[in-house]
Symmetry: C2
Subunit: 455 residues, 2 copies
């Protein structure tokens, strides 16, 4: 196992700073590993105790009689260099330092001490942090998040990795992805990036089989050249979507007080994203909308978009979105139109949008979707399903999922409404159809998909 | 009771086109009135039956032995003119024609016939529709929505009116407002606007005591001058927020096939909104975000915004939003800063944003909010509460609600996260604190508030 892999796949883990108090950071982290999901072994370290939580407690990492892959450190800042020294001597591959009180509060010399110890390993020991939340893996269940599970839900398994420079933002977003059921492969909050930085993590996810798409919240990058080269390489294989905090002048000033990173102008950062053809998100919602779209949908042939709806007003609003996004409108062939005319209502409007109107049934939707997907003038589809009308129902969902799979063209759906629609939206997602509760997000996501594959 | 009032406050209602089949439009509407919430009387009309749903059925409106305020019509299009004739002769004040198949499908002459009958009343009988969903009032429980309640939830009581030109869009949005718990006073879908149009409805809500803010989805306006004058007058008293469907060229073309209205260029429409100082929304989410902000928050003194957070990253992102929105940053007085410094953590950052950091507790939030509200350099506050950390809890919510009420300055809060945060978000809303799950929406809403009051 390589050093960076050990952060995500460690078998033997030690937690330094476990105490008898359940509420303490070290104890919360230690208990994260005691659930049945983590398949490896975990060792508590604290010289004060013989036993904690019914487990033998070790006075130091070096005292543990087995090989240790990962050490998670939750002790007072001044003690951290000594712990790191122990870890290097023990040939531990990976260290996560959760403790705060380093360069972010002006204590740079303390970070230098850590670095001095770490260098003795000649790169055989790597370190994430300090001042971070560390790692959550939905595959191995390595979990250094020191916020209790009743406050911070863990996300379900998925193929999106999330890298966050900010711990608090990362944890709030992680919690939110759990609520929204956006599956993640891994989450990393890397804090002060004393050793492992955003580029190293990108490189890890480049190889990680569980990850298809990478999302990042970044305020600033210290090693610009390294980041540029890594991003360029990684983004060619897997889409990287980036939300830059501090993109405005005032925001940039605020990052100084936060992560201490001044990235230079956001124009430079934008240029880097553009040159690498990575995907830029303007909001956290976009970060995950774009990631989900890119993780589910195939490569589009072009940008010609067909809208299919059973509600005229939503068709109109979606048309506005498509025009404003810079996507193009598909023009169905005469043959396709003739086929759809043969079964649709007399008052259905067969243009773009196709408005099957409020009395359209399951079969009309299925056939219309099929003929539109067959038409070579169509590259992308926005499928608007308003479930307020009883003429369509949930039996439609597996059928259209089958159709979409068969034709291998990008389709996003929009379903707006209350409790019943919410249920259908979940079913659509379960069947692998990306579903939004409003059109602007759906269309922006298709645009991001097209932009990523345009080269 | 005036004619237009009768649409929303009728005591005696007749439904024409009730049948023995529960699924039929007339039957669904009739049954809407049979619940205990509607305080008036309802009469079914259908010449085919003696009795429907255990009630005496009348062969015509004229046969009903009582005065009728409102007649809801759900019969075949060709029969509608005769029904309207009956209503005029019966001196009915208000008619809602749900039936479709008129000018929207090219049958203009059928609409003319209705109009001819209606004119005989000399304005004493008014008509909403045809081709509409009609009215829902959360005060009187008048409910002509012919979509079943298991598909279309009804919203809770509130002070926002929603006027929609599109029926399907209106119903989906209504359903969605119920899910989101955005309270509404009334909803109207006015369809082809043969008689009562958007301006008449604006005028009604101008006087309506239940309504504080008016939202509109409009594709096009027939009587431009009337609309301009009414909007100007109404918006001075109550904020009117408008989402224009078909704002793009392609969208404008799509409205032609939908509501048949070509509003001319959206530039003209934008100019009307601007001249009236009404509020423009770009999305349905904005339509209701802005409405809720304007219905809850007091008039701001200016645009100087203070951000308070316990998560640095969210502070940074919110700073970006404030700068991009055109709001200004508040600069706290020395005195205020000194007060906050006296109780906050050493590592707290007391600038704008104020980052109380992840270990801030309830009291620190309460005091900081109080001192910021007291500071005359602060006009608006964005309060970011990340509930992932156990140092703050729900006891904070009533306390800050009390503080906000006392100082009478606009405050919006942002709370991002999973199940626990979702619960707190609901509690915040229950206490009258507008709460968003992301910063961009919160800041845009404050901007809309400032813009409305700027004159």
């Amino acid at each position: 196992m390589s050093e960076i892999n050990s952060f995500f796949q460690a078998k033997n883990v030690a937690v330094v700073g476990v105490s008898k108090d359940k509420q303490k950071i070290g104890s919360i982290v230690f208990n994260n590993f005691l659930n049945k999901k983590f398949k490896g072994k975990v060792f508590p370290v604290n010289p004060k105790y013989e036993k904690v939580f019914n487990k033998k407690c070790f006075s130091s990492v070096k005292e543990i009689p087995e090989k240790i892959d990962l050490v998670i450190v939750a002790v007072k800042n001044v003690i951290v260099p000594a712990i790191v020294k122990d870890c290097v001597e023990k040939k531990v591959k990976a260290i996560i330092v959760l403790s705060a009180g380093f360069s972010e509060t002006g204590k740079k010399e303390l970070e230098q001490k850590i670095l001095t110890e770490l260098k003795k390993s000649n790169g055989k020991t790597r370190l994430i942090g300090p001042n971070c939340l560390g790692v959550y893996s939905s595959e191995s269940f390595i979990d250094s998040l020191f916020l209790p599970k009743n406050r911070l839900q863990r996300p379900s398994k998925g193929n999106i990795a999330f890298i966050s420079q900010s711990g608090a933002l990362g944890s709030a977003v992680l919690d939110w992805t759990a609520l929204k059921n956006y599956g993640l492969s891994s989450f990393v909050s890397y804090g002060n990036a004393l050793d492992v930085d955003e580029s190293d993590l990108l490189e890890y996810f480049y190889h990680d089989k569980e990850t298809k798409v990478i999302t990042m919240y970044i305020e600033g990058v210290k090693k610009g050249r390294k980041f540029f080269q890594t991003l360029k390489k990684v983004n060619k294989k897997k889409p990287v979507i980036i939300l830059k905090g501090g993109a405005s002048n005032a925001g940039n000033q605020a990052t100084l007080s936060h992560t201490g990173s001044l990235a230079g102008s956001s124009q430079v950062f934008d240029a880097v994203i553009k040159q690498c053809n990575a995907v830029k998100a303007e909001t956290l919602q976009e970060l995950f909308d774009f990631a989900r779209t890119l993780s589910i949908n195939p490569k589009p042939k072009g940008r010609k978009t067909q809208i299919i709806t059973n509600g005229g007003g939503y068709g109109v609003l979606t048309t506005d979105c498509v025009e404003n996004s810079g996507l193009k409108f598909a023009k169905l062939s005469r043959q396709t139109l003739k086929k759809i005319r043969s079964f649709s209502r007399d008052h259905a409007v067969l243009k773009n949008p196709i408005d099957l109107t409020g009395d359209a049934d399951n079969e009309m939707f299925e056939k219309t979707l099929t003929y539109c997907l067959e038409d070579k003038n169509v590259d992308l589809i926005v499928l608007i399903l308003l479930f307020q009308v009883p003429t369509i129902n949930e039996q439609l969902i597996p059928r259209i999922a089958g159709i979409i799979k068969h034709y291998n063209k990008p389709v996003v759906s929009v379903s707006v409404g209350g409790a019943f629609s919410e249920k259908q939206r979940k079913k659509l997602e379960e069947k692998g159809i990306l579903t939004f509760d409003n059109s602007p997000e759906a269309v922006k996501s298709l645009k991001a998909l097209v932009e990523y594959y345009k080269k």
